[in-house]
Every structure is written in structure tokens, then in C-alpha cells.
Amino acid sequence: MALDQSFVGRSYPPTDPYEVGREKIREFAEAVGDTNPAYTDPEAAKALGHPDVIAPPTFVFSITFKAAGQVIQDPQLGLDYSRVVHGDQKFAYTRPVRAGDRLTVTSTIEAVKTMAGNDILDVRGEVHDEAGEHVVTAWTKLVARGLDAEEGQA
């Protein structure tokens, strides 16, 4: 099913703030087996010049992907979520996410394409802190697989 091209450029309202906690960062770092003390020890993080523990680079995806849900599940767009896999992911950081941040995400549809029977959706999530300063931008490419497609994974 071809997606509606008129959705390109559409932005969704900023999400409610997500408050980043030290223990959530620790839980994530442990889950990926990463013992870098900047993720768990405030003093180690301060020694590197950070005001509190920082999050691993991909931590913010949980927040931006949840925000992208309002795009993915927009009934007017018509994406078949049961066939969606994650194609590409990219982040560009102004600074690392850190404990104490209250982050909002503004999602924008950058591109809508149909290629080889697959529907392809590019969503950009701009992440800002409570002061309105940019923290990170996440680009997520989602592919709703046609019946014969094999590439990609969730």
C-alpha cells in the first residue's frame, strides 16, 4: 500500500517531558554490559566535565522511538505496523543525555517512499532539554516490508 506523500514535512506536537534518572541509565548500561564509570558514578562523570552521570549513546532511542509512535500509529498515514522493521538509525549529539534531564521530543516526517513493494518512512526526532536547548537529533528509518522482502530487522 502506498503511503500518503502529503505527510512529508509534517511535525507532531512535542511530547511531555521524559525525566532521565540515574538508575535508569545504570539499568541500561548494565543491560548492554558497559562498565564505563561515566554511566554510573557521578564523580567519574564530573571528572570528565559532566554535571552528572551521562547515558550511553543509544539510550535516547527508547525516548525518541516512543515519540515516533504517534507518527507510526497515525491512522491517517496508514502504515502497517505489523510489518515494520528498523532499517537505519542515526544520532547527532550536541551533548550527551544526562541524569536530571527533562527531555521533550518533536517528531517530523522527513520522507515517505514506496520502493520494491516496501513502504519506507523516515522520522526525525529533535530532542530538547527543559531550557529549550538542543541535546540530540535521532533519525529513524522504518520499513514496512512487502511480502517478498527480506532485509532489515526489528
Binding site: E27, A31, V32, P57, T58, S62, H86, D88, K90, Q153
Partner: protein, 142 residues
């Protein structure tokens, strides 16, 4: 940001220390909880096979998280990573045994950029196959 690697000490072709990262079913359950991604293809073998996968597969974002550790362990300060992107090309298949799977990551400096930044290209494999494509980071060095 206080990377322990100096821009002047690296050249195009400089290799980062390679690492192997083990991943078992228990790893995937723990990652599901920490990330909030409970898609059953990452823990339910029956479901994974019903949707055409060979077995349970690792979260793509788990593999992405492991791969960048080669860079953050190299720089010391994870804030040195200013850009990071990957393409998910093949799944990491995780069998239900004591061994699980292994994600093998190597990286090298592919370009020296302005302002003491470098581009690092990562090679990420599992079971002999490349699992991430276009896996690149822009890294701020000292």
C-alpha cells in the same frame, strides 16, 4: 568532553582495539526490560519462526549499542561521539543454548575531519556475516 586520544596521534587507517560481545537469550531479556522493547521476536522462538525468522534475533538497537563500545572504550569519554549511524542489514541470530551468539566489532579511522574530529568506520559481524552496514561514527578527539 575529555577524550584520551589525541587527534595528532591518529592517522587514516589507525585501528581501534577490536572486541567481541557475547549475547545470549538472557542478555536479550535484560535488554528488553531496560529498553522497553518487548517485541516477541527477541525472546519467543515460536513467534520468531512464525514470522519467518530462523530463530530469536537480537534487538538491532542492542547490536548498535555494543558496536559503539569499541569507540567509547577507545576515547574514554563517551561524549566524544558526536554522530553515530548504522544500517541494520542482517539479524544477529541467538540460539537457545549456553553459547548464544557473538557480535564481533572492529573499527578504524576512515577520515580526519576539521576541529579535531575523525570519522570511524565500524565492521560488525556475527556468525561470519556482516550484520550492520554503513556503521560510522564521528568522534571528537583531544
Amino acid at each position: 568532553m575529555t577524550a584520551k586520544i589525541a587527534y595528532g596521534d591518529v592517522e587514516v587507517g589507525t585501528e581501534l582495539p577490536a572486541q567481541d560481545f557475547p549475547v545470549t537469550r538472557a542478555t536479550l531479556v535484560q535488554y528488553a526490560g531496560a529498553s522497553g522493547d518487548f517485541n516477541p521476536i527477541h525472546w519467543n522462538e515460536k513467534f520468531a519462526k512464525e514470522v519467518g525468522l530462523p530463530d530469536v534475533i537480537a534487538h538491532g538497537m542492542f547490536t548498535m549499542a555494543e558496536a559503539i563500545r569499541v569507540v567509547t572504550d577507545w576515547t574514554g569519554d563517551p561524549a566524544a561521539v558526536v554522530e553515530y549511524g548504522v544500517r541494520f542489514t542482517k539479524p544477529v541470530v541467538v540460539p537457545n543454548d549456553d553459547q548464544g551468539a557473538t557480535i564481533e566489532v572492529s573499527g578504524k579511522v576512515a577520515a580526519k575531519l576539521d576541529d579535531n574530529k575523525v570519522r570511524v568506520d565500524l565492521l560488525v559481524k556475527s556468525a561470519g556475516q556482516k550484520v550492520l552496514g554503513m556503521s560510522r561514527a564521528v568522534v571528537q578527539l583531544a
